[in-house]
């Protein structure tokens, strides 16, 4: 038994797309292009990056909602990469996903209490009274009232719906929650409530999180370690405090420099990147960031930098660090 609840090795997800009228899939969108990381028991790993960098694809591929093109996924030491539907059903009892949009992830024609109840039923809880008690308990846990059980999703605000989604995910007693931008669709005031709820639940239920977000402040608040993704690859991974205090990779530096500063009068130099994110169909050779990096050398555009250990649990993929 390993000490890690989740290990991901060399994970790749390519989406084929057709070219020309008769063309077979000749080209691929390299959404996730070789990602390695692990999450320890009780740990929260934040995964950040701008939109389109492959964060969500990573989450969904780990959940096997998308078939990985290459690489391996280990959950509690088991290689689940090639698990069939039946085996996956067992894995899903311990690993759950919370979607970004709480409006889309609930069936509009099902009362929210029934939605949670159904999960208990398919996982073998036959006794209706017991189920009802458990649903009440779950609702209480996520801060919803008993009376809310008979309401339909459209009767709730976004924050409340996300609470329902969390309750539903918790119904199976998971150990690992993959949160795919769980608060991005919510108002800022509600975001804090949901984040606090997730942190509280983590303590109470000994959960581990993979927390995917583009919101750096949220990630900093909730994560133990943070991984920064750029164009399908992890460029830097470090304990949250270290990363936010002293980012090493030029991309991380630029990303963190644009976090708004809360103290009035204090100004920080923002590093605004030039150009656009390259097309993931034809990523640049060598370091993927070399086309936008002001420190880039000839070596950077030719040889892809391996990810290396540079400090206490601090990894970075850069020739110059």
């Amino acid at each position: 038994m390993t000490a890690n609840i989740l290990e991901v090795k060399g994970l790749k997800k390519y989406f084929p797309f057709k070219k020309g009228l008769l063309g077979k899939a000749m080209e691929y969108v390299r959404a996730v292009d070789g990602v390695d990381f692990h999450i320890g028991y009780g740990e929260t790993l934040g995964l950040v990056g701008e939109s389109g960098c492959g964060k969500s694809t990573t989450g969904r591929t780990i959940m096997r909602l998308l078939e990985p093109t290459e690489g391996e996924i280990f959950f509690e030491g088991q290689n689940i990469t090639r698990f069939n539907k039946k085996q996956l059903r067992q894995v899903y009892k311990h690993m759950q996903l919370i979607f970004q949009d709480p409006f889309a992830s609930l069936n509009p024609r099902k009362a929210v209490g029934d939605a949670v109840d159904e999960v208990l039923l398919v996982h073998g809880m036959k006794d209706g009274v017991k189920r009802r008690e458990r649903v009440e308990e779950l609702f209480d846990m996520v801060g919803l009232r008993k009376e809310d059980m008979d309401k339909y999703p459209h009767e709730f605000s976004g924050g409340q719906r996300q609470r329902v989604v969390i309750a539903r995910a918790l119904a199976v007693n998971p150990k690992l929650l993959i949160c795919d931008e769980p608060v991005s669709a919510l108002d800022v005031s509600i975001q804090a409530q949901i984040i606090n709820l997730l942190m509280e639940l983590k303590e109470r239920l000994k959960l581990s999180y993979l927390f995917i977000s583009h919101d750096l402040r949220v990630v900093r608040h909730i994560s133990d370690r943070v991984a920064v993704m750029y164009l399908g690859k992890i460029v830097e991974m470090a304990p949250a405090e270290d990363l936010f205090r002293e980012p090493l990779h030029p991309y991380s530096k630029a990303l963190l420099s644009v976090i708004p500063v809360l103290k009035p009068g204090q100004k920080r130099k923002k590093l605004v990147l030039e150009g656009e994110v390259p097309n993931p169909v034809n990523p640049p050779t060598g370091c993927r960031f070399s086309t936008r990096c002001k420190y880039a050398t000839k070596q950077c555009s030719e040889i892809e930098p391996p990810i290396k250990l540079v400090g206490n649990r601090h990894f970075v993929a850069c020739h110059l660090c």
Binding site: L97, F99, R109, V119, V122, Y152, H154
Partner: protein, 307 residues
């Protein structure tokens, strides 16, 4: 809810009150989607008119034995080819049978054919469409190919082909119409499922460990049914017309069964002497088809989320 600080007391209170009212109205609407739907239908003139015709038609069929003044198949030699009168509302045919009574009983046949045939084809089409849309790949390829073949023939022609294989009679007409008209549902449901499959709540159901059958029937199907129901409403009059056509051609209900098509057919040689024999069943077919079409169109308008 966090109340924002009022900068301009009076105006703010008024605004808040308006917002509160709007919110309550919205909640009211949201809580009773069905009541809202019925209210919208009642405001639609076409829907009301169509619904009245459908209701009359259904009642006629159900209460035929009370409504019909005569037996539909009893000849009366003393009253052959009578024009419409108080005694024989729609006149009589060459055997002296009361056309009104025959039409009243004929409603039963039309109603049964329409609902049973549409019901069967709806089930066939929906299940096939759901499987094709949910599983995709080879399953989709096979089902879509069969559907395209079925779709490429005119429904009536296909129904005639089935009758040729099955033989005449009302039961066979029902089967033939059902087998000839499921392709439309299949295409619609497949399309719905293709888009629903990518919806997050369906993916959520999958990772929550639900079986394919539960996802298809409990989660996806209820969200795919609205256009299918509209379509079925518009298919009902088509089934009635096809049944009448087949019976008119002698391929459906056989005399002396009082199908509207049969009555229409029986009067076609006597159009100059007794036009009422063909006129009234024709009028009935037209009215019922009109009623269903008006109602179906209205239903489509009301269920359209963009209206």
């Amino acid at each position: 809810m966090i109340a924002p600080q009022s900068r301009n007391g009076g105006v703010y209170i008024e605004n808040e009150w308006i917002e509160q009212q709007a919110l309550e109205v919205r909640e009211e609407k949201a809580r009773k989607p069905f009541a809202d739907f019925v209210a919208k239908l009642f405001k639609h003139k076409g829907a009301v008119f169509g619904a009245v015709i459908i209701l009359l038609f259904v009642c006629t069929a159900v209460f035929a034995s009370w409504l019909a003044p005569y037996e539909y198949d009893k000849p009366d030699i003393s009253a052959v080819l009578q024009p419409p009168s108080a005694e024989h509302l729609f006149g009589t045919d060459e055997f002296g049978r009361d056309i009104f009574s025959r039409i009243v009983y004929g409603a039963r046949i039309s109603l049964r054919v329409a609902f049973v045939a549409v019901g069967i084809s709806l089930v066939i089409g929906t299940v096939l469409g759901a499987l094709a849309g949910y599983y995709g790949g080879v399953v989709d390829y096979i089902i879509t190919s069969i559907t395209d073949i079925a779709w490429s023939f005119p429904t009536t022609l296909l129904a005639i082909a089935f009758i040729a294989a099955l033989g005449t009679g009302v039961e066979n007409v029902i089967i033939a119409i059902a087998l000839a008209s499921w392709a439309g549902y299949c295409r619609v449901v497949r399309g719905q499922f293709l888009s629903l499959r990518e919806r997050e709540f369906v993916q959520a159901a999958r990772i929550l460990g639900m079986s394919d059958a539960r996802i298809i029937f409990r989660h996806m199907l209820p969200n795919a049914l609205a256009p299918v129901i509209v379509m079925a409403t518009l298919e009902l009059p088509k089934a009635i017309v096809i049944e009448a056509s087949l019976s008119f051609l002698g391929l459906g209900a056989q005399p002396p069964e009082p199908s509207w098509g049969v009555i229409l057919d029986s009067g076609k040689g006597l159009l100059d002497q007794a036009p009422w024999i063909s006129f009234f069943p024709g009028l009935m077919i037209m009215l019922v088809v009109l009623g269903f079409n008006l109602f179906g169109d209205a239903l489509r308008d009301v269920l359209d989320p963009n209206s």
